[in-house]
């Protein structure tokens, strides 16, 4: 048995696998709190209106109804929240700004009664003019959704000074070199306008919250990725000390950004406060869709190059539709701006990115935001320049890609990945140099995603006298496998079998501070904290063992749950008995990650650059425009895979979401009204949409800032895939400037191409 020696780098089974295949894993919707009642939310049917009156008397009179919450019930608190901009009331107070905005909420003994009560609430609206699209919101005479003066910075924007103006909620720009001179002198300039759709994350578990409000404390069980940020916002909203707000997070049925920051928690707490009972609110899918979504975008980009294919300059203007409230819009704007130049060396680059308010549901985080928006656009222009220059597209990239250590954007962290070897791996996987059969197109895309978010994480490891280590860490387990990877790290450092490591679920009253679960940060940042905590215990163990065995520290090793001195071993329980003098006691280790200097976070650039690489081989049905994906590949530049199987699995999931974003997914609005609000009309990829061949390639150069040289993955594939598919179409002579690539859109692009040819 070598068990106990190397845990890191091995594809050990998921620690939460058994409970999940048995259907016994608890999600918030599976939990019942004593005395709990059921909440439903009444949502606005109109995109923009003043609320003239709400009459809830009939609803309140319905037997079984416990409380009806409206804006009038939150006038005693500062009811506005938003981690970047405090622009959003937890329930509409005087104005509604999108179809689906919560206007009231009912708590009742059962869900049926709550539902019936909704229909008894009479709301009188005075409709206002709407700005339902980016163009409408940007028009000169556009009405303004928010009074700029009323907008205050949220608790966690981390983006310097926010200066909302008109319907612009955030503007982010940077420039380097003399861009116009570069374009004036360039031999080749490629220019285009592009459109990216609103997309629904579809975490299969919709947002669900149970809230309990006591005298001066609040407890919530919530589907949230960032329990400590939710805690802070709830404390701020309800005027409580943060430590009196307890956020408990069981397993999450997928997150993908949809459960980042604060979502349904405030309204549930406010309803519980009014009801005086614990309340559960569970979104339906149509409600989840209007709770958060991916930003739709329009973008203008031009790229300059010399005749031999050397990239010279790039200029980008992009407008992201953040909907009626900012949510994570400002961060998405900044990250999109960061992704806009792409991973290339420029003599001149200029990027302007705006987040725009419209009368549509708020847009926030969705896996690979920014990079998913921009990579396909930049990469399609790089392909076009390669065609001009007569260069193979892999060669084109090898010629122009940044090398490790080069600057990515002004003032940010330099590149920490070997992109050229990554795309060579991809090219080999796709048999890039092999001849293609007629009608087959190949494409690839390379991008960078600013990853990691604010680097603050902590962890505690307790090793007890039974030889079991319990890890406290507030990372949310939402499918990515954090608990498994952390268990491996602890097992590795303490020489324990995997079965002797337990990981607690996030609970702000019990598990220590972690900034968030997202931005591909957990293995890298929380993982480092976990490793340090385990190392702390390891040192204590060794020190205890030197006393117990009376041997020098250097002569000891830890494995198989025991301290070894040559062939002599002392199991941890036995060591504890000798050290503490009884069958008890424990060793406690702590670990922490914090910014190296200054503001940390954004000002100094990302914790690491996540590599976004995708490759595709496609065929197109010329009659219908339907794309068949023959091969799909991604490269996970992971530094060091702690668990290769989990990395591959997460990558494949990201790849498939990338396929959905590229081919199918689009929330369709008409005057702010969502037209496809169920999965009957919003197509999420199914097993039949799988590519014929699916490759997830790992690049392990141990160049990440995390444990054993690890760095985050899981988002890059999503951003790389649309670029790869767009470029595979380009390889077939089909040029597109709008996602998703529905058959009709591809068919139209082919028709337009034919017309151009014959003209």
């Amino acid at each position: 048995m070598t068990d106990g020696i190397a845990k890191v780098g091995r594809s050990v089974p998921r620690v939460d696998g058994r409970v999940k295949v048995a259907g016994a894993a608890q999600f918030v919707g599976d939990m019942v709190v004593p005395g709990m009642v059921h909440g439903k939310v009444l949502r606005s049917p109109v995109p923009h209106a003043l609320i003239k009156n709400i009459d809830s008397s009939q609803a309140e009179a319905l037997p079984g109804v416990i409380a009806v919450l409206t804006g009038q019930d939150v006038l005693d608190i500062d009811a506005y929240y938003g981690h970047s901009i405090k622009d959003r009331p937890l329930v509409a107070i005087d104005t509604v700004r999108f179809v689906g905005e919560p206007v009231a909420a009912v708590a009742a003994e059962d869900l049926v009664t709550a539902h019936e009560a909704l229909s008894l609430i009479d709301v009188q609206y005075e409709e206002l003019p709407t700005v339902a699209t980016l163009d409408e919101a940007l028009a000169e005479d556009a009405i303004q959704l928010h009074e700029a003066a009323s907008l205050r910075a949220g608790l966690f924007h981390g983006l310097g000074e926010l200066k909302p103006e008109g319907n612009v909620c955030y503007h982010h720009a940077f420039e380097r070199g003399d861009v116009s001179a570069v374009f004036d002198e360039a031999n080749v300039v490629v220019e285009g306008e592009y459109t990216f759709p609103a997309v629904y994350q579809y975490a299969m578990e919709p947002h669900t919250v149970i809230a309990q409000h006591d005298m001066d404390s609040v407890t919530v069980w919530a589907t949230c990725q960032h329990p400590f940020l939710v805690r802070a916002e709830l404390a701020d909203l309800f005027g409580l000390v943060a430590s009196n707000v307890r956020v408990i997070v069981p397993y999450l049925g997928g997150g993908f950004g949809s459960k980042s920051y604060t979502k349904m928690e405030p309204i549930t707490v406010a309803l519980a406060r009014k009801a005086g009972r614990p309340v559960r609110i569970a979104n339906r899918v149509d409600e989840a869709m209007v709770t958060t979504r991916r930003h739709n975008m329009k973008c203008w980009m031009r790229t300059a190059a010399s005749a031999d294919g050397s990239l010279l300059g790039r200029e980008v203007r992009l407008w992201l539709d953040t909907g009626a409230y900012a949510d994570n819009g400002p961060r998405v704007v900044a990250t999109a701006a960061d992704a806009a130049p792409g991973p290339y060396r420029w003599q001149g680059v200029k990027v302007d990115a705006w987040g725009i308010y419209t009368n549509t549901p708020p847009a926030g985080s969705y896996r690979a935001f920014g990079a998913a928006h921009l990579t396909w656009i930049g990469e399609s222009q790089v392909d076009e320049i390669a065609r001009h220059a007569g260069l193979d597209r892999v060669e084109m990239r090898s010629k122009n890609l940044l090398r490790p250590g080069e600057e990515v954007r002004p003032g940010g962290k330099p590149l920490d990945a070997d992109l050229i070897s990554d795309i060579e791996k991809l090219a080999r996987t796709l048999d890039w140099d092999e001849p293609k059969t007629e009608g087959v197109g190949r494409g690839l895309g390379v991008g960078l995603l600013a990853a990691g978010a604010h680097p603050v994480s902590s962890a505690i490891v307790r090793l007890e006298a039974d030889g079991v280590a319990t890890l406290s860490v507030s990372t949310t387990e939402m499918g990515q496998g954090a608990r498994t990877v952390f268990s491996q790290l602890v097992a590795q450092e303490l020489g324990l079998p995997m079965e002797q490591v337990k990981v607690l679920g996030g609970d702000t009253q019990v598990t220590p501070y972690d900034r968030s679960t997202g931005a591909s940060r957990s293995t890298t940042l929380a993982g480092t904290a976990v490793q340090h905590a385990a190392q702390d215990v390891r040192e204590q163990l060794l020190s205890a063992a030197t006393q117990a065995l009376d041997v020098p520290l250097q002569a000891l090793s830890l494995h198989d749950g025991a301290v070894w001195h040559g062939d002599e071993m002392l199991s941890y329980p036995e060591l504890f008995r000798r050290y503490f003098g009884l069958a008890g006691g424990e060793l406690i280790g702590q670990g922490r990650v914090q910014p190296e200097s200054g503001q940390g976070s954004y000002a100094e650039g990302p914790v690491f650059w996540e590599v976004c690489i995708g490759g595709a081989e496609v065929e197109v049905d010329r009659d219908t425009g339907r794309i068949r994906v023959r091969k799909l590949a991604s490269v996970a530049d992971v530094g060091q895979a702690i668990n290769p199987m989990l990395v591959e699995a997460q990558e494949m999931g990201g790849t498939m979401q990338g396929l959905g974003n590229a081919l199918f997914e689009e929330m369709l609005f008409s005057d702010g009204q969502l037209l496809n609000s169920t999965l009957l009309d919003y197509h999420v990829p199914s097993m039949e949409d799988m590519p014929d061949a699916f490759f997830s390639v790992l690049a392990e150069n141990e160049d990440g800032p995390g444990p054993f040289g690890a760095k985050g993955v899981g988002e890059g594939s999503l951003a790389g895939v649309p670029a790869a598919i767009v470029n595979a179409l380009g390889d077939l002579g089909i040029h597109v400037d709008e996602l998703p690539l529905t058959p009709e859109r591809v068919w139209r692009a082919m028709q337009a191409g034919e017309k151009e040819k014959s003209a």
């Binding site: 998921r14 048995a22 259907g23 016994a24 496998g481 999420v684 799988m690």
Partner: protein, 165 residues
């Protein structure tokens, strides 16, 4: 609140156990299982019988519990994920899901396992394309399906081997 609502008796078998209950005719099977019996393995997601997270087997056939009246289960037999466990031991199919890392967040898993169980019970040899078609009504947002397909294929294969051997 509730006195005027019509009620009806319901007797059925759930995971091999006889159950007698009184329900409203409009009670959905998913609510009956989750709220009435505390069997929370079946999940509510799309609620329009597209995603398959609420899949249970009714007399061996997969149904969407979110859109099936509990009334339809009268005098019939329901299998939920909780019934897959025999004396605390996982079914070989569940072991196959574990072995192939076919689980991530776990929210689709119960439905995916039960849909596959109905395929397993039919005991017919299927091509990869046929398996994909059969399971195309069970969505998963985490895995990209590849590992699920591998798990299902391996479970079907060992099932057929044990059936023929």
């Amino acid at each position: 609140m509730s006195d005027e609502r019509p009620r009806m008796p319901l007797s059925l078998r759930v995971n091999g156990q006889s159950i007698e209950a009184v329900i409203e005719p409009r009670t959905m099977l998913l609510d009956f299982l989750r709220d009435g019996l505390g069997l929370t393995g079946a999940k509510r997601s799309c609620d329009v019988q597209v995603c398959g997270a609420c899949t249970v087997l009714l007399d061996g056939m997969p149904v969407s519990a979110c859109c099936t009246l509990a009334y339809e289960a009268r005098d019939r037999s329901v299998l939920t994920i909780e019934g897959m466990l025999q004396n605390g031991t996982l079914h070989p199919l569940q072991e196959a899901f574990l072995e192939h890392t076919a689980v991530q967040c776990g929210f689709c898993t119960s439905g995916m396992v039960l849909a596959t169980k109905s395929l397993l019970d039919a005991n017919v040899a299927l091509s990869r394309e046929e398996i994909k078609h059969y399971l195309s009504g069970n969505l998963c947002r985490c895995t990209g399906y590849w590992n699920i397909l591998e798990a299902v294929e391996s479970a079907l294969k060992s099932n057929q081997e044990s059936a023929s051997g």
